[in-house]
């Protein structure tokens, strides 16, 4: 690299001059600060960093980052980011989205960005509610959700975002939550460093329209017994003293058990690099919602060539085969004839 050293930056350098306008107490603030704390540690340049968002509360994120950024159209950020990432492999492209933006109106673009493995870091803030439109249920809201648009309770089964991403052939899938800055930073760091599309579900509290949605699992007193940290190569166990664990019943089902009952040797060992996504998928189904012990951390991290580099390889191969494009020769590539 002939590049001069990346300048040393602090959190302040990554904050724009715009006043942050989320509701006081919104979980988005801690996510923003986690990202702004992480970026100085990544050894990347502000000018090479781009945040692209769609529409929704989360989508205001780019305005607060002193980088390049685009606040685009509801649901379309992954598509727009795909065009940018494929033409500019030198950039770090982040997509910030919400549960409505990425799983409802933009569901199609999310799954295709993941299957193509476009070099994008996708942070999906999941608050299980529509905040910006003032409180309708979202595609991750629990069945029976009472909102303005569902006064008698919502009827539709929610998405499990981690399951969905795994089903979409994602190569990196993780989950974190807005009350644990350190965990967020480490998860985002892994996502950023992943050479391909990475998808992070961030449980995020909307204190105005869906306050306490994750309290049962990430409340201070509940956290130890309800959050299951996933560590690659380590037995899956949790609890203040590691007293709980996860085992497989040999039928493809996972169960939460007491380590004392089954013994340490029986615990499932996490393997985020397994080519087959079955284990990651089973882990994503361990909890049916944020009221049961829920895994957090990296579910899956496997390597597959990213889309942009495959595209570039084809361009290179074509040039090697046919020579650099010659416009004049192209115009004359069919049958031609001349008159004097």
């Amino acid at each position: 690299m002939t590049d001069v050293a990346v300048p040393v930056t602090t959190r302040k350098d990554w904050a724009s001059d715009q006043e942050v306008r989320w509701c006081p107490g919104c979980g988005d603030y801690t996510i923003l600060s986690a990202v702004q704390l992480l970026l100085p540690e990544l050894g990347v340049r502000r000018e090479n960093t781009v945040f692209i968002s769609g529409i929704g509360c989360a989508a205001r994120f780019p305005y607060y980052m002193n980088t390049y950024g685009m606040h685009s159209i509801h649901g379309r950020a992954p598509a727009i980011a795909t065009g940018l990432a494929v033409t500019r492999p030198d950039l770090d492209v982040w997509v910030v989205t919400g549960d409505g933006d990425s799983l409802s109106i933009g569901g199609n673009h999310l799954v295709h960005a993941l299957r193509r493995n476009v070099k994008l870091t996708i942070l999906m803030f999941n608050n299980q509610i529509y905040g910006l439109t003032k409180g309708q249920y979202s595609p991750t809201s629990e069945v029976g959700k009472i909102t303005k648009s569902t006064p008698f309770g919502s009827l539709d089964t929610p998405f499990n975002p981690v399951s969905l991403a795994l089903g979409a052939e994602a190569t990196f899938v993780a989950r974190t939550h807005d009350l644990d800055r350190k965990h967020m930073i480490e998860t985002f760091r892994r996502a950023h460093d992943h050479p391909g599309a990475s998808f992070v579900e961030v449980y995020q509290n909307c204190n105005v329209f869906n306050d306490g949605a994750f309290e049962a699992i990430n409340g201070k007193e509940n956290r130890a017994d309800m959050l299951i940290p996933l560590e690659h190569g380590e037995p899956i166990r949790f609890g203040a003293n590691g007293e709980h664990g996860v085992v497989s019943d040999g039928q493809g089902r996972l169960h939460v058990v007491e380590v004392a009952d089954v013994g340490e040797q029986a615990l499932l060992v996490h393997d985020e690099k397994r080519a087959d996504p079955g284990l990651a998928f089973a882990l994503s189904r361990l909890a049916t919602g944020p009221h049961q012990p829920t895994p957090i951390g990296v579910f899956r991290a496997v390597e597959r060539p990213d889309y942009g580099s495959l595209v570039d390889r084809q361009l290179l191969e074509a040039s090697e085969r046919a020579g650099a494009g010659d416009l004049s020769a192209l115009l004359r590539s069919g049958a031609t004839w001349s008159y004097d």
């Binding site: 781009v50 727009i80 795909t82 295709h112």
Partner: protein
């Protein structure tokens, strides 16, 4: 067909004719498009002027032998300049009863009918809906009918290959091509080479097609069933090197050229849709030009990715047609707000909804003009002939880059698939359309430090700077929310919004300053009627105007390439004619625009049948209007009215 000599003659006789229109028609699996394409290339090599019109069904393989499955290819060749594929064929090649039934009514009395008689069995007759065999019931007596058992002759010819009859039969399009190649003295060497190239991977197919092709040619020569064969001399041409192109290929090449001239990488985000897909196919072949093509998950992603690429400094393009255009509208609005260059190529087809996917129409102009929420002006450029698609693509890109705006480039199904000889431009003669990226701060921040404001405008063009990610010191955020004039920060102030709405509008209106004034083609200078057009009607209007002038009458013509904004002096030109007639394949899109912009009493001549205007229709409409004006001049007080409507193609009065 006009002939210079007597029509009755002895075998072996060669007649010289000045032009002919041939239509190949068969089942969509019969390879008629290939036969037509090859005949076109053979004719181009002779130096005839030519124009083609492929017409095929939306179904890939409609039930064989039915009317729904008929595919046709019409080619007009001549020894003089021509513009259209011809109003009606002089020669119809019908490979089966359905092809005959669907096309014979277009053949004028005395026309040549070449029929594959093998296909006129009971089953095929029934499928086409014939109760009696037209070869036997006298219904074709008005034509010069040549019944030739093409299927069995092809199978016989292919025997040496060992191919099964069922497979050998598939070469019968080459038999028909060989026969017509003999009849019109086309050179056959190039087609034989082409067969070898195209089917080279399957030697038995190369052999079968070549044998069938030669058998057709030799059959014409030896069977002595044709009274004569025909020669058509080369047309006079402006010196230069020519090739034959379809509109879609010319458009794809125009995009490659535009990127080259702009010194930018080309990115195409597209979702397959008829009849636009060939642009995606063509560009995907030329990766050695550095073009990145993304077959997106949907139309929205296609344009979204193109816009993302534009943000990163590429020439971003999306291509679409029909319903795809509707889906792109929201992103076009974002591009208007972001003020980034973007090309939206729309190959218009019959609508609404799925409409007529393979048939031409010009009914998207008002969508391009107005089809977005909010005040969202977008420039529009329209191609007028297949080869002009090349120039139109460069012009659309020039406007997009210079003014940092999305631009609609309109073509249509007729231009997309039709072809014409094209005098190739020298690449060095093409315009430089490159623009500069911003590289320096352009303002002073509140802290007194140099700052970059993304919405500071160039006073001449009102374009904002294009600062691409990767440029240190110019980091900025843009979005769909209203922006502060200058800083680009989110701004909801009422006065600022009004300023921004006006600035965005003025920027687009101001493009007219960049456009050359238009001049009507009015050789005698005394025409009272102006034929105003846009897009693919150019050929028919120009040919119709020529015929009227040949008859000694004056008529003026003006064809627009820039539809938003209009050329600066357009209103003045329109107002200088007593009548402005606008032939359009819609119900009056351009008509509405010029009426509302210039308060001129322009009148639409409408045709929406999925096919282009016939020259005769245009010619008749001009005569009718001149007659009306002359009558009115003789009787100044007589009725006739200021709104004397123009007769449409169907004789009904067409009004807005």
């Amino acid at each position: 067909m006009t002939t210079d000599s007597k029509t009755v003659s002895e075998p072996g006789r060669v007649e010289t004719i000045d032009q002919v229109v041939i239509r190949f028609a068969g089942d969509s699996g019969d390879g008629m498009q290939i036969a037509g394409d090859r005949f076109t290339d053979e004719s181009a090599l002779i130096g005839n002027d030519l124009s083609t019109f492929p017409n095929y069904p939306a179904e890939i393989r409609a039930p064989a032998g039915t009317l729904a499955g008929v595919s046709a290819f019409q080619i007009h060749i001549s020894d003089h300049e021509i513009l259209t594929p011809g109003d009606a064929p002089n020669v119809l090649v019908a490979m089966n009863p359905a092809a005959l039934k669907a096309n014979v009514s277009d053949l004028p009395n005395g026309g040549i009918l070449v029929i594959n008689s093998d296909s006129f069995d009971e089953r095929d007759l029934a499928k086409a809906g014939y109760e009696t065999n037209p070869l036997e019931d006298g219904s074709l007596s008005a034509y010069r009918v040549y019944e030739i058992p093409m299927t069995s002759l092809t199978i016989e010819a292919c025997k040496p290959t060992g191919a099964k009859p069922r497979d050998a039969e598939r070469s019968k399009n080459f038999f028909a091509l060989g026969l017509l190649s003999w009849l019109y003295h086309r050179p056959i060497g190039e087609t034989e080479k082409w067969i070898a190239r195209r089917y080279g991977r399957v030697p038995i197919v190369v052999e079968a097609n070549t044998l069938a092709f030669r058998a057709g040619y030799n059959f014409g020569e030896t069977a002595e069933i044709f009274e004569s064969s025909y020669e058509i001399a080369p047309a006079e041409h402006i010196p230069g090197t020519y090739t034959n192109v379809t509109g879609n290929v010319a458009l794809a090449w125009g995009l490659l050229a535009a990127a080259h001239l702009a010194k930018l990488p080309l990115f195409l985000g597209s979702y397959p849709i008829t009849p636009a897909s060939d642009i995606l196919h063509e560009l995907s072949k030329h990766k050695n030009f550095g073009v990145r093509t993304l077959q997106a998950e949907d139309e929205i992603a296609g344009i979204g990715a193109a816009l993302g690429a534009a943000f990163g400094g590429a020439l971003g393009v999306t291509t679409t047609s029909g319903p795809g255009l509707d889906l792109k509208a929201e992103t076009v609005g974002l591009a208007v707000s972001l003020e980034l260059p973007l090309l939206i190529v729309d190959i218009q087809r019959g609508g609404p909804s799925t409409g007529l996917p393979t048939k031409t129409e010009q009914s998207d102009l008002l969508h391009a003009m107005f089809g977005r929420h909010g005040e969202a002006p977008v420039p529009i450029v329209a191609a007028k002939t297949p080869s002009h698609c090349f120039d139109a693509a460069i012009e659309a890109a020039r406007i997009a880059l210079r003014y940092r705006t999305p631009v609609y480039l309109l073509s249509d199904g007729y231009l997309a698939n039709g072809s014409e000889p094209w005098r190739l431009p020298a690449v060095e003669s093409l315009p430089d359309i490159s623009v500069e990226f911003a590289s320096e701060p352009n303002a002073t921040g509140a802290d007194g430090e140099p700052a970059f404001w993304p919405y500071v405008r160039d006073p001449a063009t009102l374009a904002r700077p294009w600062a691409v990610p990767g440029t240190p010191g110019l980091e900025h955020r843009i979005g769909g929310l209203e922006k502060h004039d200058g800083t680009g920060a989110v701004a909801y102030e009422p006065g600022n919004h009004e300023t921004m709405v006006h600035l965005r509008a003025a920027k687009i209106t101001g493009i007219a300053n960049d456009l050359a004034p238009v001049e009507a083609d009015d050789p005698t200078g005394d025409a009272r009627v102006l034929m105003l057009g846009w897009g693919s009607t150019y050929a028919a209007i120009t040919a119709g105007v020529k015929r009227v002038r040949k008859a000694g009458r004056s008529v003026a013509q003006l064809h627009l390439v820039h539809l938003n904004p209009f050329p600066p002096n357009l209103g003045k030109v329109l107002r200088s004619y007593e009548t402005v007639i606008v032939p359009e394949n819609n119900l009056g899109h351009l008509t509405r625009l010029v009426r509302s912009d210039f308060l001129v009493d322009a009148r639409v001549m409408s045709k929406v049948q999925g096919t282009p205007f016939r020259v005769g229709e245009i010619e008749d409409a001009i005569h009718e209007e001149i007659d009306r004006l002359e009558k009115e001049s003789q009787q100044p007080d007589a009725a006739g009215g200021p709104n004397g409507a123009v007769a449409g193609h169907n004789g009904k009065e067409a009004e807005l």
